[in-house]
């Protein structure tokens, strides 16, 4: 399939694992929607035969929030990059985790803004050459699993594109887990990150991932920060239960309003109708 990604880029690998997970989990593909932001990973939405939404820069999560709340039968996946999700979209990322909206976030982290030419991202490690830090980065880096755990995500994992089976398994797990889940996937950018930092090509990055990765399931997330050439802690760090946004909303409304609460969404789910929220004027067309 022709695509826009560079030779050695890891995004295609993540899509393979994602596709495998969808097929293996036997989820009804008509109920899967994928929402992307902007950037290299943002283009994933255009390569999958699913209901797919390529939104604006950083705003995939609030779009996904609206989609999920209006149409709860959908399995909503946000598939985007580290810059999109954690910089321009950082506010949305933490608030969606806080609310525990039932969306599954796949964050392809190539440590840089790649689509726009290799600028520094909040995830870029220190002492790395980028186009906007030509003398080396120095500002501190986001540890995304730590951020996500603190904000309230119920599932947090990190893998690299070397770990294709583990990615598949993680995606299967989040499809079975309601609430806000976050999977970070480290992925090479040979064109703009590795080359500028003399770290070789895509294959060299695979060797690097293999050599440096250490599986530590359940590792405290404050210990999983990344550096330019240090250990890469991978694994499932958080897997916990709490009510998701829709559950909490329903519970509160039933508490406050009793029988007066109209749980239109639940009614629609029970009917398995295509329309939701009671706002659709097209019962005829959808039934």
């Amino acid at each position: 399939m022709p695509h826009i990604w560079c030779p050695g880029c890891g995004i295609g690998t993540t899509v393979n694992s994602f596709s495998r997970a969808l097929l293996d989990s036997k989820v009804d593909l008509d109920t899967v929607a994928i929402v992307s932001g902007i950037g290299c990973s943002g283009r994933v939405a255009g390569y999958v035969r699913l209901d797919s939404f390529h939104t604006t820069h950083g705003r995939a999560i609030p779009f996904a929030t609206g989609l999920k709340l209006a149409n709860p039968k959908m399995n909503v996946v946000v598939y985007s990059g580290d810059g999109d999700l954690s910089a321009i979209g950082g506010n949305h990322l933490i608030h969606a985790a806080r609310r525990n909206v039932d969306i599954k976030v796949i964050c392809v982290n190539n440590l840089i803004y790649a689509m726009t030419g290799g600028q520094t991202a909040p995830t870029t490690p220190s002492d790395v050459i980028t186009s906007t830090n030509p003398y080396g980065t120095f500002d501190p880096t986001f540890n995304l699993p730590h951020l996500m755990e603190a904000a309230g995500a119920v599932y947090v994992a990190r893998w690299t594109t070397y770990h294709v089976r583990q990615i598949t398994r993680a995606i299967q797990e989040v499809f079975a887990k309601p609430g806000f889940s976050f999977i970070e996937i480290l992925s090479p950018c040979p064109t703009l990150y590795q080359r500028r930092n003399r770290m070789g090509d895509g294959l060299d990055t695979m060797k690097f991932y293999k050599e440096k990765s250490k599986v530590k399931n359940g590792c405290p997330t404050n210990e999983v920060g990344l550096s330019k050439s240090g250990e890469i802690v991978v694994g499932k760090f958080v897997d916990r239960q709490r009510g998701d946004y829709r559950d909490m909303l329903r519970e509160q409304m039933q508490h406050a309003l009793g029988d007066r609460f109209v749980d239109e969404v639940a009614a629609n789910l029970a009917e398995d109708g295509g329309c939701s929220g009671g706002g659709c004027e097209l019962e005829d067309a959808c039934s």
Partner: protein, 385 residues
């Protein structure tokens, strides 16, 4: 079709414009709102948050206006009718997603209860200084529809019309209120649901194998599908072809962007709403909109008692601008008088369309209160000379 009675609060009410706007949205079938608090607009979503749990639907308070303005679009593609509400600073933040709605042809409604600006400006006081922003605020070429209510009753009526326009033409529609209309309490009559016309969503009747998400109908508007119905469609803010997939070439751009404009421009006669009287034989026509039209009415009445031949043209839809109407009038009168709560915005549209055939006199106001009628009368007298 007619309104769903679940959302229609039939009866005679004494409520302000913000509350009436919310009732209009509910009557129109809106079952999803995403908002972020901002004076003087918040009462619209406060009422929605109060009402929607017993009607059936969702309100979510988002972390900012960027989030609110895209969250509602996710809900629309999920099958809901949705809207958001804001004022100047929040409206500025929403511009990105007004563009996204225009490009992806997402039917939705943005309410802007205008206050004085720029920046934080006058949070609790009126202005009409976002009128050009409503037309040109997001980058790129597109057209929207903007309505300007001048009373709580119209806040109700025009909110329904705004939703209907948004569904029919698949555009973001702007309800350009102002602080005075938003906070003014008057009688609002809400009819029975079967008296309220609703334009249904342009949902495709084609099977997925034949469905092209961006193939236009005879009005230039494509049919829609919702997530989860098996259509497996793609939506992108990138330039896209009729299949909905990115196709970033000059010919595709040309076809798409011209259609986004022409679907409004070519249907202006179906969209344009205005109120006129005394245009025949007038020397001067006062062109006004929103709250200013109520001051203008007083000025027109007073000028007529002075023996002046004054016509009234109140624009109910300001965008698309009624170019032909103004151009025709310009050949018959001496001058247009344009009062507005800004330092000149719609005045330039009137002047452009008059094209030198009649004078255009601006009665400006920096915002914070409404005009004194005397200032409008002075302009009428000057125009009649």
């Amino acid at each position: 079709m007619k309104a769903d009675p679940k959302g229609v609060l039939t009866g005679v009410h004494f409520i302000d414009g913000d509350h009436a706007c919310c009732e209009g949205a509910l009557a129109a079938g809106a079952r999803f709102a995403a908002g972020y608090p901002i004076t003087p607009s918040t009462e619209v979503v406060e009422r929605f948050a109060n009402r929607i749990p017993t009607v059936g639907g969702t309100f979510i308070q988002m972390e900012d206006e960027l989030a609110a303005s895209i969250c509602l679009q996710g809900a629309v593609w999920g099958g809901a009718k949705a809207f958001t509400v804001t004022s100047g600073p929040g409206y500025s933040l929403m511009m990105e997603h007004i563009g996204y709605a225009a490009m992806t042809e997402t039917p939705c409604v943005f309410v802007n209860v205008q206050r004085g600006g720029p920046s934080t400006g006058l949070p609790t006081l009126p202005a009409q200084a976002d009128m050009m922003q409503a037309r040109w605020g997001s980058h790129g070429d597109y057209m929207t529809i903007a309505v300007c209510p001048n009373s709580p009753q119209e806040c109700f009526d025009l909110t329904i019309k705004a939703f209907n326009f948004s569904e029919r033409f698949r555009v973001p529609v702007m309800i350009m209120m102002d602080e005075v209309v938003g906070h003014m309490t008057e009688k609002v009559v809400i009819p029975e649901a079967d008296q309220i016309d609703i334009f249904p969503r342009l949902h495709t009747t084609k099977p997925p194998s034949e469905y092209k998400p961006y193939a236009p109908n005879e009005e230039g508007v494509p049919e829609m599908a919702h997530a989860g119905e098996g259509y497996r469609f793609h939506v992108t803010g990138l330039t896209h072809d009729e299949r909905g997939y990115p196709a970033m070439t000059p010919p595709v751009q040309d076809t798409l962007v011209r259609r986004l404009k022409s679907k409004i421009e070519n249907n202006i006669d179906k969209i344009s709403l205005y109120e006129a009287d005394g245009l025949e034989g007038a020397d001067v026509v006062v062109v006004s909109y929103g709250i200013t039209s109520r001051v203008a009415q007083r000025a027109i009445d007073m000028a007529r008692t002075m023996g002046l031949k004054v016509g009234k043209l109140r624009l109910i839809t300001v965008w698309p601008f009624p170019e032909k109407l103004i151009a025709d009038l310009a050949t018959k009168i001496k001058a247009f008088v344009v009062p507005e709560l800004n330092l000149g915005q719609i005045k330039y549209e009137v002047e452009r369309c008059a094209n030198g055939k009649a004078k255009t006199i601006l009665v400006d106001h920096a915002g914070g209160s409404v005009h004194r009628p005397e200032r409008i009368i002075e302009a009428i007298v000057e125009g009649a000379k």
